[in-house]
């Protein structure tokens, strides 16, 4: 069994550690670094509760080894709020009642953030596709879609990106 030294930036902080090759990224984040906002919901990479951003890409952290994250930049749910200000996605989830038990919520929000990074103007269908890798048992998704729409609007407004006809934000 080999051990590897890794250096990973998470939510702006650099973490150095020695990990076994087989340590899953989600276990390292949760058990090793005590960032327990990212959750585990299945064992077949199906539920998305473990979704984080790795180098800006939505990633199921249960399907990556910690060693693979060496040198990379990660954002977890704990990195959404900045200086006491909630991210629009967090605001949206609260305003639109897009969470009940809260367990799928961190992964769902990170998938939402990734979706909006790629597509600031998503249609309802785009949103449903974008979160199709994240399962929720409580909400029936209706309000999650609304929350992401709320965040999209807020983010477009704050960017003050001029929106003219035909610009789809691709």
């Amino acid at each position: 069994m080999s051990k590897h030294h890794i250096s990973v930036t998470i939510n702006g902080t650099v973490y150095e550690d020695d990990v076994d090759s087989r340590t899953l990224l989600v276990h390292w984040i949760r058990d090793g670094l005590h960032l327990t906002g990212t959750h585990i919901g299945c064992d077949t990479s199906s539920c998305g509760a473990c979704t984080i951003l790795v180098d800006g890409r939505a990633t199921k952290s249960c399907t990556m080894f910690a060693v693979q994250a060496n040198g990379r930049e990660i954002m977890t749910v704990e990195g959404l709020e900045k200086d006491g200000k909630l991210h629009p996605i967090q605001e949206g989830f609260h305003q639109e009642h897009a969470l009940q038990c809260g367990y799928c919520t961190p992964g769902m929000m990170m998938a939402g953030v990734a979706l909006l990074q790629r597509n600031p103007h998503p249609s309802e269908r785009d949103i449903r596709v974008g979160i199709s890798g994240n399962l929720c048992r409580c909400t029936g998704y209706v309000n999650i879609v609304k929350a992401i729409q709320y965040a999209a609007e807020k983010m477009r407004a704050s960017e003050q990106v001029p929106v003219s006809a035909g610009e789809g934000g691709e």
């Binding site: 539920c47 749910v77 809260g102 367990y103 994240n134 048992r137 409580c138 909400t139």
Partner: protein, 789 residues
């Protein structure tokens, strides 16, 4: 206590949730987030066989794995009398298998190690010798005289695989009604199979058991929907003194009935902590969760309706074969082995009914009551709504008409059903009319006729369900003997802020907000000033927990009444301070004032302060109250759902075009929370109708035992639910509320099934068993010559 509804400051408001603050920051505290110094990890060795003798368990290699500290087997537990434990249904179940295993994935040994990874390696290194035995997975075959006896451990009191026979209703009168219908009326009958499914909350089950030998105190963080009941059961089973057991149900990531039973993993973790003196964490994987924890449904039903030729129903006769798996661990009130299944006369005025249930063992995981079922009401409602449609189609009547024609009329409430339930209030016609309006039912029927002429398959399905929740009156309802009351304790602090604790346990239902709203409404405060806690048995008053939609009907009542006790005491203090009699005082939200002199009054905050600083000499100081509520009856939420489907004639896929859900849960505490519950429940009604099934092959291998094959709907499968509301308060509930959490799961599946059958009724189809897979539909299309590309 009539249902005075206070429509200010809290009740009826779409108050944003207080609990969101931690969850959106990823700062929830779920069981797997608990990390204690020196904590060890447990993992379970499980049987690959559905039925086998255990010849030998060799733990020697496992003990050599670095980090593995111990391997507990059934023999070890047996020495402490813990190899078997009682279930909530009067059976016993194995904690760790002793001489044989009864279902695939059954627990055989518990490995304790210093890390999760070492524990997993330890599990892989335990060697078990099995001698396979013949497997029984068909419950009908379990009743064959030559079927292998699956539970030799209880053969003296139960010599066959049949667990019980249960019946209710008037068999003679029902048979007579059927005889009459045979002669001059109409009889419709149907076999309806409701397969096994699994509640599968996104958080699996688990615990951290922490025994301190110095104090003798056992603390267990546990995914529990009923912490107090669990504490009492732990005390009874383990012999540890109950005042030194503390169960903490922290944040729970969904329950849906999955977190009501006590699982072997919890017991093993407790034993391991007792042995090692260290905290022991056990968290199951999803595959373990699906294959071994409490399943739901698995009812084989034969149902018949006797009716007049004009479509007036007369009698209902139902026979059910219930597959309980290897142990009867169904979690329901003890006097009701088939739960509340006998609500199956539903919203309709049946004069006579008879229901019987035969329960059997098979080589499958134990359970039966789960997945938002309200104690088998999902099964009951499914069967009656399917039968009403079958009756309609056989008579050539419209399914909406047949319901309207047979609904219990509003003036009939309180209504005593043919199976002896007293429904508190209802307005079934109102709900169905509203649903029909919202979906423009008549236009849909016209569209269907046009489409049919062109060969397009479109269906409309209705479900007009009656729910029965709020268990329940103590003389009839108990869990393991403990009466099903519930509680609320309120403390008003000197500066007028409130801390309340309740005996129920949210797993997402929003109690920290909705119960704060109840108190805020009674006391005329902002819900911001009321914090609600629950889940810690050391501090919360005794309650029976949250499942079967009982929180609002029972603990919600206790909360309103406790708040009224607080207000009553505040009134006495006000009278004293204002130097008037209590009868001279009026209440408006947040203050008492002197009749005729509105300027002379005291706010609730001033009265709270006075309770501690200037208390009347004839009263105890302080401003706190507690209420334990024994409900006088259950409550009966209801609704009407209408679903429109289009069928792809090339693939058999069912597309849900629209789904309108009109719910009536009586007084609505928080419409936003109620709607969220309905969205989620509808999705959990869609799932069994079209997607989910936990099945077994003939060797007892679990099929669909992981999230690749157990098909939880994503946002792509889930339609945009359209909601509507009627409000018919419960006359016996202090705030008129009935509860709503399970209504959608109870009402939805049959709306979808009815729609699919309706799409094919014109070619003679009367029933399709769930889940309605594309290939089931396609087979029908092919048979009827309707399949195309």
């Amino acid at each position: 206590m009539a249902s005075e509804v206070h429509t200010h400051h809290g009740l009826g408001e779409a108050y944003k949730r207080k609990e969101d603050a931690r969850f959106i920051r990823g700062q929830g505290n779920y069981v797997d987030d608990v990390q204690l110094p020196g904590m060890l990890y447990g993992d379970i060795v499980r049987s690959p066989y559905a039925h086998a003798l255990i010849k030998n368990i060799d733990t020697s290699n496992a003990l050599k794995v670095p980090g593995v500290l111990a391997v507990i087997t059934g023999k070890d537990l047996d020495a402490a009398g813990l190899a078997w434990m009682p279930t909530l249904s009067g059976d016993t179940e194995a904690v760790l298998a002793l001489d044989r295993v009864h279902y695939q994935m059954q627990e055989v040994a518990f490995v304790v190690a210093t890390s999760r990874y070492a524990a997993a390696d330890g599990v892989a290194a335990v060697e078990v010798d099995y001698e396979p035995l013949p497997v029984v997975v068909d419950p009908k075959k379990a009743l064959d005289p030559d079927a292998p006896l699956l539970r030799p451990d209880k053969k003296d009191r139960q010599p066959t695989n049949q667990i019980y026979h249960w019946e209710t209703g008037d068999r003679a009168a029902t048979d007579a009604a059927f005889a009459e219908a045979q002669a001059s009326g109409v009889i419709v009958s149907q076999d309806v199979y409701i397969p096994r499914i699994h509640p599968a909350p996104i958080e699996t089950c688990g615990c951290v058991a922490d025994y301190h030998s110095a104090t003798g105190k056992l603390t267990v963080w546990m995914t529990s929907q009923a912490p107090h009941a669990h504490r009492t059961l732990f005390a009874i089973v383990s012999g540890l003194p109950e005042h030194r057991i503390r169960i903490i149900s922290p944040d729970v990531g969904g329950g849906f009935g999955n977190k009501v039973p006590i699982y072997p993993g919890y017991v093993c973790a407790v034993v391991a902590s007792l042995k090692t003196g260290k905290p022991v964490k056990w968290i199951e994987d999803r595959s373990e969760n699906l294959a071994s924890t409490g399943f739901a449904r698995d009812y084989h039903i034969h149902a018949e309706i006797a009716a007049d030729k004009d479509g007036t129903v007369k009698a209902l006769r139902v026979h059910t074969l219930a597959d309980h798996g290897a142990f009867d661990a169904a979690a329901q009130p003890t006097k009701f082995p088939a739960g509340l299944f006998h609500i199956c006369t539903g919203s309709y005025d049946f004069k006579h009914a008879f229901v019987d249930v035969d329960a059997v063992h098979t080589n499958k995981a134990p359970g039966g009551i789960a997945y938002r079922c309200s104690f088998r009401v999902t099964e009951a409602s499914y069967l009656i709504e399917r039968m009403m449609d079958t009756l309609a189609h056989n008579l050539g009547k419209d399914p909406a008409w047949i319901r309207m024609h047979n609904f219990i009329k509003p003036e009939a409430f309180p209504y005593r059903s043919a199976l002896n339930w007293t429904y508190d209030s209802g307005n079934y016609e109102g709900a169905l009319r509203l649903a029909m309006e919202k979906i423009d039912y008549d236009a849909l029927r016209r569209e269907q006729a046009e489409k049919r002429a062109r060969g397009e398959l479109m269906g409309i399905g209705i479900s007009s369900f009656t729910e029965i929740v709020g268990a329940g009156p103590g003389k009839h309802f108990d869990i393991a003997g403990i009466q099903m009351f519930d509680s609320c304790e309120i403390r008003v602090h000197p500066t007028g802020k409130v801390l309340a604790r309740i005996g129920v346990q949210t797993q997402g239902q929003g109690h920290e907000t909705t119960f704060a709203q109840i108190i805020a409404a009674e006391l005329g405060m902002s819900p911001d000033d009321v914090d609600v806690e629950h889940g810690d048995t050391d501090t919360a008053p005794y309650g029976l927990g949250t499942y079967a939609s009982r929180s609002t009907p029972v603990a919600g009542a206790a909360t309103a009444l406790a708040a009224r006790k607080v207000r009553d005491k505040a009134k006495k203090i006000a009278a004293y301070l204002l130097e008037v009699g209590e009868d001279d005082l009026e209440w408006e939200p947040g203050r008492f004032y002197v009749k005729g002199s509105p300027g002379k009054g005291k706010t609730i905050q001033e009265l709270a302060f006075a309770a501690y600083t200037n208390c009347p000499p004839f009263l105890e100081p302080g401003l706190e109250a507690v209420n334990y509520y024994d409900p006088p009856n259950l409550t009966y939420p209801f609704g009407s759902y209408i679903c429109v489907v289009d069928i792809d004639r090339g693939t058999g896929e069912v597309h849900i075009r629209r789904f309108v859900a009109v719910d009536d849960c009586g007084t609505v505490i928080n419409p936003m929370v109620v709607e969220g519950q309905i969205h989620g429940g509808l999705t959990q009604g869609l799932a069994p109708a079209l997607y989910e099934e936990l099945s077994y092959d003939e060797n007892g291998n679990v099929l669909g035992g992981n999230f690749q094959d157990y098909l939880i709907p994503t946002a792509m499968e889930t339609p945009s639910w359209e909601l509507g509301r009627t409000v018919t308060p419960s006359p016996h509930h202090p705030i008129g509320a009935k509860g709503v959490g399970e209504s959608p799961t109870v009402g939805a599946p049959q709306a979808i099934v009815n729609a699919v059958v309706d799409a094919l009724a014109h070619v003679g189809v009367r029933h399709i068993d769930i889940p309605i897979t594309p290939w089931k539909v396609w087979n029908i299309l092919k048979e009827k010559g309707l399949a195309v590309d």
